[in-house]
Symmetry: C2
Subunit: 323 residues, 2 copies
């Protein structure tokens, strides 16, 4: 297997946590190639590609890619395009990661717009795949049919769901509810090839087993992802503070650790390995900006799994299937 190109300077905790995550992945047997400035990557003992520029978290994505041709993100995407890496992984600027992948790897033939697929935790069940989680702030109705097809392929490969149930995010279960955009998408999804459409779902369904894949435009999807993440973070923070408030509660918390810790862990965004950009000609994993070493290792493992299962081939076949 070709190495996975890892943006060594992407993310709030780069480069230290990113490099530590890379080392752990290598120990697990996954080949990794660091991409970044020479002084960061050359003395790690890991394979590397030098890139002199960095696209920062605050930079505009597309502009950053056009202006910084020797940036770690652009070089990582080029490594995939040129057959020197099997996938790219970054915890850096999401917009620039997408733009690098799109502009350097290109779109899968027939795909109107790539979309970010984000797994949302569902306690006790496989995660719900939400897309588009933020690649396209404004969408055409037809794009969501492709999001449904691509999300179906991803849910099947990533979580082993044989016939993923696809729901359309709306503000009422009935086909008549929602914006005119959503009503049109609903109509298009009925009978869309390769899609097991189960109708509209609502915000309270995304963290449950109501659907395996939830499609929406990139604005609403990003809002859902961040609302859920923010809400969970707030409540887990308050619970942790409550557990630590007195000697008595700390003792009680020790008893509860075996039942609560797996839950807290499951709710950590970093456990999932991150989101994936579906629709480009290569595997591109978008890890959380706050990724720790463990999150980076998980993202690399996810990349490996997507490459091994040939997700890109599966997406090509799904999009090329006769309508």
């Amino acid at each position: 297997m070709l190495p996975i190109a890892l943006d060594a300077v992407g993310g709030d905790r780069a480069p230290d946590e990113v490099i530590a995550g890379a080392r752990a992945a290598v120990e697990l047997g996954v080949p990794v190639m660091l991409v970044g400035p020479e002084h960061v990557v050359s003395e790690t003992g890991l394979p590397f590609v030098v890139a002199t520029e960095i696209i920062g978290m605050g930079d505009d994505g597309a502009q950053g890619v056009r202006r910084k041709k020797d940036s770690s993100l652009v070089r990582a995407a080029e490594a995939v395009r040129d057959g020197k890496a099997s996938a790219m992984v970054s915890a850096g600027n999401t917009g620039a990661t997408m733009a690098s992948a799109l502009l350097r790897m290109g779109r899968i033939r027939g795909v109107s717009r790539p979309a970010i697929a984000a797994p949302l935790p569902v306690p006790g069940e496989t995660p719900t795949v939400l897309l588009d989680a933020g690649a396209n702030a404004e969408c055409q109705p037809e794009w969501l049919v492709q999001f449904a097809q691509m999300g179906t392929v991803f849910s099947r490969q990533r979580f082993g769901v044989v016939k993923p149930r696809v729901g359309l995010l709306s503000i009422g279960e009935e086909a008549s509810k929602g914006s005119s955009f959503v009503k049109e998408v609903h109509h298009l999804l009925e009978g869309a090839p390769g899609v097991h459409f189960i109708g509209n779902v609502e915000g309270h369904d995304v963290a449950t087993d109501a659907a395996d894949v939830v499609v929406t435009d990139g604005f609403s999807g990003n809002v859902v992802l961040k609302t859920l993440e923010g809400g969970l973070e707030v409540i887990l923070g308050v619970i942790r503070a409550g557990l630590a408030s007195t000697p008595e509660t700390r003792s009680a918390a020790e008893v509860l650790a075996p039942v609560l810790e797996p839950l807290f862990d499951y709710m950590e965004p970093e456990t999932t390995g991150g989101a994936i950009l579906l629709g480009v000609e290569g595997v591109c994993i978008i890890a959380h900006g706050r990724s720790s070493a463990r999150a980076v290792t998980n993202a690399i493992s996810l990349a490996k799994e997507m490459v091994s299962g040939d997700i890109v081939g599966g997406l090509r076949a799904a999009i090329a299937a006769p309508a």
Copy 2:
């Protein structure tokens, strides 16, 4: 004070829990008038108005109001319009509650569209007022300026925030991020009279103290509200199950009850008293569909508080202020 007109047959747990909630409110000194079918309301010992029809949870809102002129919702709204009640409260069909209020009470002069304002819990802080939480699935940019003005009045009266900070929901903090709709709203909010605009906020900000009021279109707002509610419900359910799983964890949970219960309680949607429809010529409280007696009592108390503080007068003044 005129009685508060309570829809006796609205909500999943009506009429029993609704009537029990009414009794508790009366005991607290708030006058209540039940509205519903004679066999439901006549033997409660509480004042009542008979309405022979019921608009069900699955009925279309506006259609229900047009067709069922003797429904509890229409009669409750008419009681407010006719000066026989000071406010209306329902845990029933949200669309029909809005339509009844809008069609019978009318809009405040100058208001383009009424909006639902929903308080989102923020542990340790005053709730964030989110609007529009679902009245308008599609919005014009100018409407959101009025939502900001109305949300400001509500945040001030309900939570005592002297100068509420208003954020615009988007998918990035920068003014350049988001859909073209959001960019236009951002521009309009800069310098809008009566609005202390602090810029864009994101999904992870709604459950925090980042803003006092968050404005958005009714589609995104409804998605945020239900995502947060659903996510919290799922995680609290799992935590409760974990606490109850063994004799040891149950003992530990007892120690933790004093620190965890207030939190669980605070996160219950029913604690807030419900949402309010802002922009109509009267107080209209939309309680949660699953409201228990306690939730109904809280909704009635909220109605009373809004009437006492003359929220409608405050909204009139804010909307009429020179631009």
